[in-house]
Amino acid sequence: MIHAQAAVPLGRGRFTELSLLIWVATLAITGFVAVLATETSSFRPTAVVVPAVFLALMLSLHVFLVGIRFRGDQILLPIAAGLTAIGLVLVQRLASDLLLQQLSWSIIAAGAFAATIVVPRDLTALARFKWTWALLGLLLLIAPLLPVIGREINGARIWIKVGPGSIEPWEAVKILLVIFFAAYLEEYREVLSHAQRRIGPFPVPPVPYLVPIVAMWGIAMLVMVFEKDMGATVLFFGIFLAMLFLATGEAFYAIIGLGLLILGGIVAYQLFGHVQARVDTWLRPFDEDLRFGTGYQLVQGLYALANGGLIGVGLGNGMPDRIPIVWSDFVFDAFAEEAGLAGAIALLALYLVFLYRSPASRFPSLPTAARRL
């Protein structure tokens, strides 16, 4: 997706990027020092090695971009680096055993980042094998349901056994599906957008083209019912609808899709205990019959948020350990307790700028778009 052209006129270097990376370095160092200062357990060398490796990694990415005279956006890398820094600090804070693992993934991600820039940008080769990606994605999606290799952890069947541990194939599925959707929609977007018939303002494409929507919906429902993962369901179908909208510009498809999702959700709520529990817990976690059961984790998370207040209690001063599985499910709450509303919104803002920066580097600025609305 990144064919980005520079939005900022360039001289020889990438000074915007470098100066922003200095802020990221400050963030990472302060974060690690603050966590170390309040840590009660014994000191481990990883706490110093990891931030050092991280800083070296970011610096080398920057030098690499300068070296190849890359003329793309200078803000995306610092934001990604900032989010990675916050991630590493929080892993050190919440589950320091996983710190090296987190760092390894950061290194892999940095490698992937460099690779997407160096490797030829012609993506049509990917499009040619779109059905292969679709099939692979589907296989991975249903893999956790298979006997022997599939695993159910904490009530969700979304893991498969690999060697001594287990992985969530879902993470790979996301990327495969995005590639497939992009290729598929590119091929059919004309047909999907140029509906032959209309009912009122709504386009009705020929039946064969509605099939994908219904098929994707069916798969999403299967994920919800059998893998018991509400988050994956919404994300999977959400990605599909977003891309369908990107290709066709028909908000109507998104509305049909959301309608189907809600309908399926209501039916599943009536039929399946795990869906019901999840929804009830979300709606009223403080109910007497939920707060010590299925709502426990959520309630502990809300206590953490409430303790955060406007500016937080400071890194290392909160009580994230009271939230079960905090390092995996409730990192945001743990961060908001210690960094407060200010930190939480700053974190969200980083994602928002990242999101905005990607299309904005190619297309008119957001203010221009806003004026047109």
């Binding site: 510009g249 206590y303 207040g309 400071g314 509303l341 939480a344 969200l348 904005a360 778009a369």
Partner: protein, 479 residues
């Protein structure tokens, strides 16, 4: 015409930006707006964790005698509860089961962060510099508390004594009780809590404020007050013939007299001999609207403003009096009425206090570690419920109900002191023995104590309860 993808990307970006805005609003709600409420939620582990490395503040009675203290234990500190009869009031502070009672209601004060002391809260929060915990002082007087606990003994029920001038609760007994030390003892807590939460007797329940019972005859003061304030002449004699019905439309439904009375009754006679048929007729004369109005003014059906959890009771199942037989039954305290002992104590406190209802409260003061008063807990009165004249007239009749000829509540008499009071024998579900009530105050001329007693399922009803009320009042008056 296919819209250009760039336009679609912009729309999608704006949609997602909107989603971020919604998420930020959600974060703002939970971190800032809901913050205070959640910070003091009794199950928030942060309240307990604040006392892992230092003692929690003591809870003491009005003379400074401790009822809950923190003792050094192998790991951190453990709470020690001194008085089993105060279990439901003081509550417990358990790392596992959260907080209850005063431990929950004054949780922030007990960790040295009283809301009246924002500097301490700020220092603890942002500088990690936590003030040593202070004390919470209760209105409870352990001497009166003991008299009340001894009076009730092992019988199920409740006794509450309060000062009608301030609303401070002087004694509060709820039987059966439990040993809170077991709930906070790591080696016994699971078994103890499991047993308590499944106990058919509801030992965790503070019957004083949360127990709901039909009031029976003690409710007649409400009917009396409504009548007196609406021009009803208390000296007018009404004909009582047992059994009674207003007209044939009642079918086989009758109001019964406890003493199978036949004769002429005025209001004094009605109170002294607790005549149901007299008050049924009064209620029918003044009408449902006026009785409903006064029951509501006296707080029936609304949660009392108390610093601990309290039940609100009800005037009737539907909330209104919609038929004559229900009006007749409600007028003498039956029908579908439900009240807590505290609500009845507050109604009599209003009469004792010249018609002004006080606000009940268990705690009276928060002090810091040096003994300085951080906050006085003295909630103002709820307001003028009935006129001073009505209060005076009712007091005179209630004195007659204790010491007049043939009075039902004779058991509450104290030599040398004028006691005002009323017994009640509240009919229960069929097949269950009635509840025995007594509510009264003393000295009648200048009341300093109101006592409400309920003994569950006792065959003699109010006759059982009256002497218990007398014992507690005597302890309170030092007689």
């Amino acid at each position: 015409m296919t819209s250009p993808i760039s336009a679609n990307i912009r729309s999608l970006t704006l949609t997602l930006a909107l989603a971020f805005l919604v998420t930020s609003i959600g974060a703002a709600y939970w971190t800032v707006l809901a913050s205070d409420q959640l910070a003091n939620d009794p199950f928030n582990p942060r309240l307990i964790a604040a006392t892992n490395d230092r003692p929690r503040g003591a809870i003491v009675d009005r003379n400074g005698s401790p009822v809950a203290t923190s003792e050094k234990a192998a790991a951190g500190f453990i709470r020690s509860y001194k008085d089993r009869t105060l279990a439901q009031v003081v509550g417990y502070a358990s790392p596992k089961f959260g907080l209850s009672g005063v431990e929950a209601a004054y949780a922030d004060s007990l960790i040295g962060q009283d809301p009246a002391d924002p500097v301490s809260i700020w220092k603890a929060r942002y500088l990690g510099d936590r003030a040593p915990a202070g004390q919470v002082l209760l209105g409870i007087d352990l001497k009166i508390q003991k008299a009340a606990a001894d009076a009730l003994g092992g019988r199920k029920g409740a006794i509450v004594a309060l000062d009608p001038r301030t609303g401070a609760i002087l004694a509060s007994v709820s039987v059966p009780s439990y040993d809170a030390n077991q709930v906070v003892d790591p080696s016994k807590q699971d078994a103890a809590f499991d047993q308590l939460s499944h106990s058919p007797d509801h030992a965790l329940l503070n019957r004083v404020a949360q127990g709901l019972y039909p009031p029976g005859s003690i409710f007649k003061v409400v009917t009396g007050a409504a009548a007196l304030e609406n021009g009803f002449d208390p000296t007018k004699k009404l004909r009582v013939d047992d059994p009674y019905q207003a007209d044939k439309s009642w079918g086989d439904y009758f109001v019964r007299s406890a003493s199978h009375a036949h004769g002429l009754f005025d209001m004094s006679d009605g109170f002294r001999l607790s005549e149901n048929i007299y008050f049924a007729q009064v209620g029918l004369q003044i009408g449902a609207a006026k009785l409903t109005d006064y029951a509501k003014r006296f707080g029936i059906g609304s949660t009392p403003n108390l610093d601990l959890p309290a039940a609100k009771g009800q005037l009737s199942d539907s909330g209104s009096i919609d038929r004559p037989t229900l009006l007749a039954d409600t007028s003498y305290g039956q029908g579908e009425l439900l009240v807590s002992p505290l609500q009845m104590a507050l109604i009599y406190a209003t009469i004792a206090n010249g018609g002004v209802m006080p606000t009940a409260h268990y705690a009276t003061e928060v002090r810091d570690a040096d003994g300085h008063v951080v906050r006085q807990i003295a909630p103002g009165p709820q307001g003028q419920v009935i006129s001073p004249n009505t209060a005076k007239t009712l007091t005179t009749m209630l004195v007659g109900a204790v010491s007049g000829p043939g009075a039902f509540a004779f058991g509450a008499k104290i030599p040398g002191v004028n006691v005002a009071g009323k017994t009640g024998t509240a009919e229960n579900r069929p097949g269950e023995a009635p509840h025995g009530w007594f509510v009264g105050f003393a000295p009648a001329e200048n009341p300093t104590v109101v006592v409400a007693v309920i003994v569950e399922n006792t065959a003699e009803g109010g006759v059982t309860a009256a002497p218990l009320g007398g014992q507690v009042m005597r302890a309170a008056l030092g007689k």
